[in-house]
């Protein structure tokens, strides 16, 4: 196995580990601040960040599989989370040329807009599946926490990528 192949495998493995680990983390009873703080949607953050900076490291199949994994793990109908993750994936790829090189405030705003869109669709899906209007507040609250976490995740993600780039250049 040559170095390039090894590097690709490592990058793909890392992104898969991050994505599936974050989905699993959503099921772990973290009970942040006595349960008043819901776990942020880290898988959506990871999909957005990879789609933005390293789309080849996180193929769409990973998002699809992670969504199905979450649907099954949560004992839900099959499909809603897979749809949400793929739509987030598609939205960031569509807007990639606009986001390239932009300030973190623009990126955070872009993420927030994408998040609102995909979570709205999720709410509609769940309301149809549940045959009743689902409460919006828990979704809004968890989405808000996710938006607040995004700039921190962006900072660490970009720092890691910059370090990798310097290492590769060296």
């Amino acid at each position: 196995m040559d170095d390039r192949h090894l590097a690709t495998t490592w990058t793909l493995g890392l992104s898969a580990l991050l994505l599936f680990g974050s989905v699993t983390l959503l099921s772990v009873p973290l009970n942040l601040f006595q349960g008043f703080l819901p776990t942020p949607y880290l898988p959506l953050v990871i999909i957005f960040l990879y789609g933005l900076d390293r789309p080849s490291s996180l193929p769409a199949g990973f998002s699809f599989a992670a969504g199905l994994y979450q649907d099954l793990l949560h004992g839900m109908a099959l499909g809603p989370w897979a749809t949400v993750y793929l739509l987030m994936h598609a939205s960031v790829l569509w807007q990639r040329s606009y986001f390239a090189g932009r300030d973190s405030v623009v990126l955070s705003t872009g993420f927030a807009i994408s998040l609102v869109s995909v979570l709205t669709l999720f709410w509609i899906e769940m309301s149809i599946l549940g045959s009743r209007t689902m409460p919006l507040w828990p979704l809004v609250y968890q989405g808000l926490i996710t938006v607040m976490v995004f700039p921190v995740a962006l900072f660490f993600f970009r720092r890691t990528i910059a370090k990798q780039a310097v290492a590769l250049a060296g």
């Binding site: 769409a60 004992g75 499909g79 990639r96 599946l129 549940g130 689902m134 310097v166």
Partner: protein
Amino acid sequence: MQSALFSKLSRSGLREAERPPANLLVMLGISFFLTVASIYGAQASVFEKARETLLDRFAPVLNLFSGPVRFVGNQVGNVSDYFAVLDENERLREENEELRIWMQQAMALEQRLAEYEMLLDPKVVETNRYIPAQVIAENGGPFRRALILSAGRDAGVRQGNAVVDGAGLIGHVVTVGRQASRVLLLTDANSHIPVYIEAVDTEGLLSGTAERRAEIQQFAGRPKAPLEVGMRVVTSGAGGSLPRGIPVGEVSKLTEKGVDVRLYASDQGAYLVRVIDYAFPDPAQEIDAEGGELGERASVQPGAQEASDG
């Protein structure tokens, strides 16, 4: 410099993918199809089998994740407890005082019950078996409210079993794997449990709301007295899947459609729970216990009764 370097990287990275690949759109189509299919067959055996298999495969992983998280959570909890120790002490004193009074009443009632049992000689068949389990995962989603337990089919857990903690009913088992099981909480929108409001001698259906409360909107009959806040709600045992009399909660609010119920058991932070393996009382067993008296009554077939009437 870092941002300049990143900007350069980002722009060069554009070559990697300019637009969503076709396979993404295909997978998106499949996801939509699966979602629509789920509307008609969410509980289809193929989906259920997949859920069971995943539950079994990932139970050790979830256990691995939840262990350290629980440890850190407990340590943080211990530290924060130090700051509230005085208030907590005061609260416990008051609660202790109240419990002492209840204990005296309970002991007196226990004595009276023993006397009645001695006089009546009832043959009550104990059909409950308790299976202890740990909560290893919970649903992080905003709508679905469920827990994953460390006990499954191997421990004797069956679909439909009630799950309780120290305070009362939490929910019931919906998916059973070999080593793990999923519990649908009372607050889940898909949860519907037959309950009984003791003070008004009325049965109803307790439904989850996807929020941290449950409600009763359907009653088996007109309540025999006006409903009031604070009335105790227990399981009714209707349908035979849950035992009768498990504490559920109390009426917290009267609404136009029915009543809101404040649940005794919290839907968050549960760790050690018990699964009640309940078997609906077997008439044959009761016949044996009654020493044949009931046997004679039970042996009368409906057809025979009609024949004798005729």
